[in-house]
Symmetry: C2
Subunit: 335 residues, 2 copies
């Protein structure tokens, strides 16, 4: 399974909205298809969104028929703006697009810049894969033997350009012979935990038990969870971390039970321009993702819905943050 | 809308699994149909289960063709055993069946006992309605003006023989002119919050916003919730309360934010034989309610699932318990 792949002149990606029932791949040479896939969550996960957006810029460059440099720049800038508007919370998207923009203004012919853009997108992808490996190695050191781990949402190969962030820690520990087991909280409304994390872990032969999000605290009360590991879509300078809605709930209940909570993310998820998490923009999704996400309507027509996609966990509830650079502990200060 | 009704020689009830899309009523003169309806959650809510089971016993008595008292007793005892085995956690079920059993052994002819059983079931129903009113009145005093209330699962007319427990407090406060608003957490896996609580509140003209269970803590962090009100399926002598899974999560996060949590239940939900909540039997439901509850499968085939229907909130996380007798505060001691 390759989550995303550059194929000479087009991008191939797995449609994550179809998993786990169907393993469907899509191919495109249009950056707008990449943008739509990000918006609709066919492509999701903070690091993967960054990788996909970079490939999107490369596609735009490849298809451009402009012959003068100014018009070429304008056209690609427009594609970058379009891709940047897909989702507001994950900072990796903006990071990747900034890097592509710098390359866009390299010296050279349009054709040379085109090749440089493809190279840069591929480099972002490879770097992400490398970061996943490092995160896995650093994080695996934190896990006690036979750890029973709670994770939320999906942070694996489907969420990144490599093996994952939080899930890379889990797969690395498993490879090292640690007999871990995982509780995957289903992650309403779009059920990335139920659909994607269970699928990845079952494929990897790692014991996993699915629970509803509201069962996690009860497991903690029963002393059945040793630690919580989650990803992050954006981390402020002080360590406050935005992640899939429900993470804050897990963090509060973990704290109440004295269970450590680890946040795993590439350093591209750190936004050092933000002093604290209250400044992270939180995307609100359409209420229909709550009311009709299961194939049939589950609430009265016309009901009001509040559907934030993310929440912010304050640094004081986070035991450590794991990036490719190592294990960061209090006081966090990401400059 | 009448949730359950005795119609001379049969019982009519709303099929709650069909709500809110269809308002379907079913009629039966068979106690086994009542038992199946309880098991499948067509009839649900601790107090309502008690009422329905009592009517079930009345139906069994009415249909019995026995002519000698001993055989009549045996047949009805068998029905009582069957009804008692439907669900293990709510104590109201066992309370109601005990009352019916006492009446079963009254002096008199089979026909007289039959009439006494019908009377007793109707009395249990009426008493429950009366208790709901009292709970509403007592609880409404606790609410600040313009309270923003979080509730979990469904505790309204659909869960009781009257206007509800936690929800009766809400509807009473609304009638008294308090401009309250409610956040209904959807209550996975069977979504009683999304399907039933929103429906009841919208019908009553009370502002309600639906959220996923994992969004509640984030709302508390944003200071958008003034109190949490929930029901209970069984309360131990010390005040520990079993209720729909997720209640414990709400209780821990409410405590973390200094938000009061109120438990509302008729005194028939109190089990004074149990010293503490750890002794309350917790029903585990079939994993398919998590993985395929809503028309399409949401997890890989063969995934392990842990699906408790209830959890136990320790008394120390409960600010007050409201019964028909009044507002009970620490230290709880229900003898």
């Amino acid at each position: 399974m390759k989550t995303i792949e550059w194929l000479e002149d087009r991008v191939r990606f797995i449609d994550q909205t179809k998993l786990p029932l169907e393993e469907t791949y899509r191919e495109t040479d249009l950056y707008t298809v990449i943008g739509d896939a990000i918006r609709s969550l066919s492509i999701r996960g903070a690091p993967l969104i960054g990788v996909a957006a970079a490939y999107g810029v490369a596609l735009a460059a490849l298809r451009s028929r402009q012959t003068d440099v100014q018009s070429f720049h304008d056209e690609i800038e427009c594609a970058i703006t379009g891709l940047a508007s897909t989702r507001p919370t994950a900072v990796n998207l903006f990071r990747a697009l900034e890097r592509m923009k710098v390359v866009l203004y390299s010296n050279g012919s349009i054709d040379e810049v085109r090749q440089l853009l493809i190279q840069e997108a591929t480099r972002i992808h490879m770097e992400d894969a490398e970061m996943c490996l490092r995160i896995g190695e650093h994080g695996a050191e934190l896990l006690p033997d036979r750890a029973r781990i709670l994770t939320h949402c999906n942070t694996g190969a489907l969420a990144t350009g490599g093996e994952g962030t939080a899930l890379s820690i889990i797969t690395t520990a498993h490879r090292q012979g640690n007999s871990i087991m995982v509780y995957a909280s289903e992650t309403r409304p779009l059920l990335q935990g139920a659909r994607l994390t269970t699928w990845e872990l079952m494929n990897a032969g790692i014991p996993v038990t699915l629970i509803t999000d509201n069962t996690a605290a009860f497991l903690m009360q029963q002393k059945k969870i040793d630690c919580v590991i989650v990803g992050a879509d954006r981390i402020a300078r002080n360590g406050d971390a935005a992640n899939k809605v429900g993470t804050y709930m897990h963090a509060v209940t973990a704290k109440h039970h004295g269970i450590p909570l680890y946040v795993a993310a590439p350093s591209s998820s750190i936004d050092s321009t933000l002093e604290e998490g209250g400044k992270i923009p939180i995307e609100e999704r359409n209420g229909s993702e709550v009311t009709e996400g299961f194939g049939r309507r589950i609430a009265p027509v016309g009901v009001d819905v509040y559907a934030p996609a993310f929440d912010v966990t304050p640094a004081r509830l986070i035991s450590a943050i794991i990036t490719e650079k190592g294990i960061h502990r209090h006081p966090f200060d990401f400059r």
